[in-house]
């Protein structure tokens, strides 16, 4: 029983990161109807910048805040420079752009910081959380930071006029223009927020998986699985999906014989396939309806 509880809580800690990646993916999906395959590489790049700042002697939380802000600006810049011109391009052109962004960031990491695995500091320590055998203090810190971020985002989207304008632009771009919302800038803002969320996820997961240019590959896959499970059109659903995938992954890895640690990544893919077969819109997603 304790083992189960332990695995569930550890799953929630990883799930927090998947939830953030799922949310980042959904933010961009709602704005431009495409999956951002480079979301993980954006997060990795952010984590490298944080690592560099800390290596230069910047205090952890100063580096953390600085990287969140820089990532936001970087996300906005990527949209304005790279994806805005492709706004009306075919789906294949956009796909190529995502692959390009992926490679640029991935090899950029390797070029700037080489491919050796680096340790990444945690501000929470690695000791058991308050003497608990259930969870380490870094895991507890991951869950706490994620919770604070989710509350902040909820208040932003539900309680501010800018958040309302972003929701309106994502749901109904044509009507949004008719009330004077600059839809293009709302899309760029969505990219900025997604990049900032990803940066936080990257900095939180890096102490566990260690920092290298391919750090987020598996994590993003889990994030996709969470987003598909919860519904690509539902930010709240994506968050729940991310947490669920974290727990499923951990429990299956522990309790299903032979599956073990090696095939854990397979579970993410199984979740994606199963959901797409049974309920393509995800648990909380909506069917796209277009008026013609």
């Amino acid at each position: 029983m304790q083992l189960l509880l332990q695995q569930v809580i550890a799953g929630l800690a990883n799930g927090a990161i998947y939830a953030l990646m799922a949310l980042a993916v959904v933010m961009i999906f709602l704005a431009i109807d495409h999956l951002n395959f480079a979301q993980g590489e954006m997060a990795t790049f952010s984590a490298f910048v944080a690592w560099q700042l800390i290596a230069w002697g910047t205090p952890y939380w100063v580096a953390f805040i600085a990287v969140v802000i820089l990532s936001f600006i970087g996300g906005v810049a990527i949209e304005r420079i790279m994806f805005k011109p492709l706004h009306n391009a075919s789906i294949l052109s956009q796909l190529v752009a995502f692959i390009a962004l992926f490679s640029i960031l991935n090899s950029g990491d390797g070029y700037l910081w080489d491919y050796t695995i680096k340790t990444f500091p945690t501000p929470f320590g690695t000791s058991p959380f308050f003497g608990s055998v259930l969870i380490g203090s870094h895991q507890a810190g991951m869950i706490a930071v994620t919770a604070v971020l989710l509350v902040f985002l909820y208040l932003f989207f539900r309680g501010t006029r800018l958040g309302l304008a972003m929701r309106a632009a994502a749901h109904n771009p044509e009507s949004a223009r008719l009330v004077g919302i600059r839809v293009g800038w709302m899309t760029a803002l969505g990219w900025g927020i997604a990049a900032a969320i990803g940066a936080i996820a990257g900095m939180l997961i890096a102490p566990i998986v260690f920092l290298d240019p391919n750090m987020m590959f598996g994590v993003l896959l889990y994030g996709f699985a969470g987003a598909v499970l919860g519904g690509l059109t539902s930010p709240g659903g994506a968050v729940l999906g991310g947490f669920a995938v974290g727990v499923i992954e951990n429990i299956a890895g522990t309790f299903i014989p032979y599956f073990g640690r090696d095939l854990k990544l397979t579970i993410a893919l199984l979740v994606i396939v199963a959901v797409l077969m049974v309920r393509p819109t995800g648990l909380f997603g909506r069917t796209a309806v277009s008026r013609v």
Partner: protein
């Protein structure tokens, strides 16, 4: 002249939909565009809002706005209430009204205007916390008009405001439009299938056929001419 349109062509892709449209609208006046389905009435409104590719001249209060982005045109005070309503279905009634005022910054004024819209449409007040998608067709149409009013517009472009409404609601809605025009001096350009109603509210009417204005005149004259009514207005 508040709005002057001259030599306006409009295109959907390669397909030309409007041919040399010219008309004008004075401050605080109401005019109507009439014609059969597919005559190009909706396209005229979409052209004015920068939602289709156009050639020619559109001037609003002396500024040439042809080629402008929709959101910039809206910010001049032109509220377009599209057909198919165009409300935001997934946010609440009250949030829809707030979105109508998203370009404004006077918080107190916005709150007061929301109350004013509620006084025009009490039913919306009852449903203020509901998602717009749960409203009936008539309520959504009222919400769309209310949202347009939240811009504090100088000009309203109304596309088939009576569409899908029960006759009693149609009269109620047009009575409210008349009050808005008289009390707030909002100019209106109305596209309507229900020509009789539009001719009652408007002072001048334009008849469209296959993307061209084929006739225009004072609403009373157009409405009284039986041959025009039979040929173009279908009643």
């Amino acid at each position: 002249m508040m709005l002057e349109v001259d030599g306006l062509n409009a295109f959907y892709g390669e397909q030309q939909a409007l041919f040399g449209i010219a008309f004008a609208l004075d401050d605080g006046r109401v005019r109507t565009l009439l014609g059969a389905n597919g005559a190009g009435k909706t396209t005229v409104l979409r052209a004015l809002s920068g939602m289709v590719r156009t050639e020619g001249d559109i001037r609003f209060e002396g500024k040439r706005i042809s080629g402008w982005a929709t959101e910039d045109i809206v910010r001049l005070g032109i509220a377009h209430v599209p057909d198919g309503r165009g409300t935001f279905l997934r946010v609440t009634v009250e949030e829809n009204l707030q979105l109508g005022a998203i370009t404004r910054n006077d918080r107190a004024g916005i709150t007061a205007d929301i109350e004013r819209v509620y006084s025009h449409f009490p039913r919306l007040k009852e449903r203020r916390g509901q998602q717009a998608g749960t409203l009936s067709g008539g309520e959504q149409q009222m919400l769309a008009v209310g949202r347009g009013l939240m811009l504090q517009p100088r000009l309203m472009l109304l596309d088939e405001p009576s569409f899908g409404l029960a006759p009693r609601l149609v009269e109620e809605l047009f009575e409210i439009l008349r009050r808005v025009n008289e009390e707030m001096g909002v100019a209106m350009l109305i596209v309507e299938q229900n020509a009789a109603l539009a001719l009652e509210l408007a002072e001048h009417a334009y008849l469209l056929e296959t993307g061209r204005i084929v006739m225009d005149g004072p609403a009373a004259v157009i409405g009284a001419d039986e041959s025009i009514r039979r040929a173009y207005l279908g009643y």
